[in-house]
């Protein structure tokens, strides 16, 4: 039997990459791409864009006809929609990430042919925990670096509850950087903005430790892995880490590679003699950020806020176990690109795309989904 898929978040970074991958699969019959607010999806034969909104109740804002059609036919739901703004309030984020997830589960209960729900989450639900993070839902009281992390953590609690009667698999992504081959970035996220601040000499310090692991994955790999985990190797009740795992860069190495990439792909940048951000303890960073808040110009304040919304995660170093995910992907030809290989390509793409010239007022988003 071929699957009919409902994809939420189809206009996000992962969703946009997933649509053509799903459409080209022989084991996929049809893809309903839920689209909020007039967004567009790829015009492909198997793909049908349906207006809707996960925050609009258990019918997901679908028309009566579409609700009936989709709930009748869908076999797999890939829930990729999320509010990834690091700077948003908790209540704003909960509306999409917690209530929206609950709505998706309630919708799933109305689906008569459903065999699986893959919900995308983030490894950062671990918040301020440190050390090794398991592929499991673990309640913790360590706290969070930003409200996005907290909202996704709360979303997972909803999912855990839903696992009692629904076939749910959680796939936690680490930071999605860009395409492993071309370096292309579909949507600028916090890390890309942080790099831009460094490029412009507006990132004096980063909280963390020189050895703090920075876990990054390529967008094409992430999309291919999700498609596989949703369609051909679904496992109800699983929690998987789609991340670098053992293949991470230490923070000081990442800064050094970045510096070299800036010089290599924009040789004139060298003459600026811009120093790499200093890696500092969290209290020193917070004192600096508070001082900028108190007296700094708007530009510097915005710059520090970009860093402040995500970089403190580096002050809580951790590694993510990804054995379950790697086993699930098995020998499917979905090879994980090495971060040391694709990271410079992304920096190159950013430089060549004119990313450095964009204004700093773009909202800070997280995992670029």
């Amino acid at each position: 039997m071929r699957d009919t898929i409902l994809l939420t978040g189809s206009t996000g970074v992962i969703g946009r990459a997933l649509v053509p991958l799903l459409a080209e699969r022989r084991d996929v019959e049809h893809v309903y791409a839920l689209v909020r607010g007039g967004g567009e999806v790829a015009n492909l034969e198997k793909v049908k864009a349906v207006p809707g909104d996960i925050a609009a109740g258990e019918r997901l804002g679908l028309s009566d006809q579409q609700f009936e059609e989709i709930s009748e036919n869908v076999t797999v739901i890939i829930h990729a929609a999320a509010d990834t703004r690091f700077s948003a309030s908790l209540s704003q984020l909960q509306a999409a990430n917690v209530d929206g997830t609950q709505n998706v589960l309630d919708f799933a209960r109305r689906c008569r042919s459903l065999r699986g729900i893959v919900c995308l989450s983030t490894v950062h639900v671990a918040g301020q925990r440190t050390d090794a993070i398991e592929e499991d839902i673990v309640e913790h009281s360590a706290g969070f670096v930003n409200c996005y992390e907290q909202s996704k953590y709360e979303s997972e609690l909803v999912l855990r509850e839903g696992m009692g009667d629904l076939p749910i698999s959680i796939v936690r992504l680490s930071t999605v950087l860009g395409d492993s081959t071309t370096g292309a970035v579909a949507k600028l996220a916090a890390i890309h903005q942080g790099l831009r601040l460094y490029y412009h000499s507006l990132a004096p310090m980063i909280p963390g430790f020189p050895s703090s692991p920075v876990d990054l994955i390529a967008s094409d790999y992430a999309a291919a892995a999700i498609a596989h985990l949703a369609v051909s190797n679904f496992s109800a009740g699983s929690v998987l880490h789609l991340c670098g795992g053992r293949d991470t860069l230490a923070l000081d190495d990442l800064l050094e590679i970045t510096h070299k990439a800036f010089v290599r792909y924009r040789p004139s940048w060298r003459k600026r003699s811009i120093a790499s951000p200093t890696i500092v303890d969290l209290s020193t960073f917070e004192l600096f950020a508070r001082s900028v808040d108190e007296v700094g110009d708007n530009l510097l304040r915005q710059s520090v806020n970009v860093i402040r919304h995500f970089a403190p995660q580096l002050a809580y170093p951790k590694t993510y176990d990804d054995d379950g995910c790697r086993n699930a992907l098995g020998n499917m030809g979905i090879d994980k690109p090495r971060v040391a290989d694709f990271y410079p390509k992304v920096v190159r793409w950013l430089i060549e795309s004119g990313w450095a010239d964009q204004k700093l007022t773009t909202p800070v988003t997280g995992v670029a989904r």
């Binding site: 412009h200 000499s201 507006l202 990132a203 004096p204 310090m205 003459k271 600026r272 003699s273 811009i274 120093a275 790499s276 951000p277 200093t278 500092v280 303890d281 209290s283 020193t284 004192l287 600096f288 001082s291 108190e294 007296v295 700094g296 110009d297 530009l299 510097l300 710059s303």
Partner: protein
């Protein structure tokens, strides 16, 4: 770092003259001379500044005269004068006659102080790093000239009356500092001096934010490089003699470099704020006078000057 075969050179005497008028930051605010609220600047460690109605060259002359008197220096024994000013107006005694742009204060001091054997040099375009650079130049001069024994370095800056007193969240005093750099010095021997210039930040008016951000990582780097050059770490540094920018920024910088707050001689920041290029050496004098330094102590001086200059000097008291 100085070669062991070179004669030791150090700073043997320091005197200063600050502006005569003491003004609180609240009063500066009342006079409209601040950009940031006074209460905020107080939180950052500033309380008073000193304003001068005397021009810079007169303040410099008084500081130098005081130094020569206190140190009992024979004027004819001075081999050179290096005169430091951060702004162009500090380097000319200007009248309505355009030719007065060539009325250099260093020559004025040479004449008034009867330093007849001294050659003169102006040190400019280094902002608050000027005096430290002049001291380094003095050392080089003394090492290069076998017969030379002492150099007088004078720094003096006075803002025009009614000028704003705040530069990137720091409060500025008028003042002059004179010091003697001598060959065979028995104290404050110069162990190392480093200067980093990053011309990208030359334009203060358009790069204010970038300068504020760049300040910290480069400051950390130059201090660490200086210590590494000398084969020591922070545990061997007896005292940090700062430029008197805000205590807040020093708290942040101490966090970056991993040095304890007790090593910072920061008392003068509240007393008179930032005296342009003179801070580090006024602080050295006051640290000596208050018994904060002992013979053999390693003293680290750090400053940043517009024109994008980071400068660091290590002395052995």
């Amino acid at each position: 770092m100085g070669s062991s075969s070179q004669p030791p050179v150090g700073v043997t005497a320091i005197e200063c003259v600050l502006g005569a008028e003491t003004v609180s930051v609240e009063e500066l605010e009342t006079r409209g001379l601040l950009e940031t609220p006074a209460t905020r600047l107080q939180e950052f460690g500033f309380h008073c500044v000193r304003l001068s109605s005397e021009p810079a060259h007169e303040l410099g002359l008084r500081a130098a005269r005081k130094l020569l008197g206190v140190a009992s220096v024979d004027p004819e024994s001075v081999d050179a004068i290096f005169y430091v000013g951060a702004t162009p107006i500090s380097h000319a005694v200007v009248t309505s006659d355009p030719r007065s742009a060539f009325n250099y204060p260093v020559a004025y001091l040479q004449y008034e102080l009867e330093l007849t054997g001294a050659v003169t040099t102006g040190v400019s375009q280094l902002g608050c790093a000027g005096l430290m650079t002049a001291v380094s130049m003095a050392r080089n001069f003394l090492i290069a000239n076998e017969s030379a024994s002492r150099v007088l370095c004078v720094s003096s800056d006075v803002f025009p009356a009614g000028s704003r007193r705040e530069m990137i969240y720091n409060v500025i005093s008028d003042g002059a500092c004179a010091l003697l750099v001598e060959k065979g010095a028995g104290k404050n021997r110069i162990l190392d001096y480093r200067q980093v210039t990053k011309g990208y930040y030359w334009d203060l008016t358009t790069k204010k934010n970038e300068i504020a951000a760049a300040y910290f990582p480069t400051a950390r780097a130059i201090m660490q490089d200086t210590l590494r050059d000398c084969g020591i770490d922070w545990s061997s540094v007896g005292l940090i003699l700062p430029h008197n920018v805000s205590l807040r920024s020093w708290e942040i910088l101490l966090g970056l470099i991993g040095a304890p707050a007790e090593k910072l001689f920061g008392a003068n920041i509240a007393r008179f704020g930032h005296v342009i290029a003179a801070d580090n050496f006024i602080n050295l004098r006051d640290a000596e006078d208050t018994g904060r330094v002992q013979p053999g102590d390693k003293l680290l001086l750090f400053t940043f000057g517009f024109g994008a200059n980071w400068a660091c000097m290590l002395l052995e008291h």
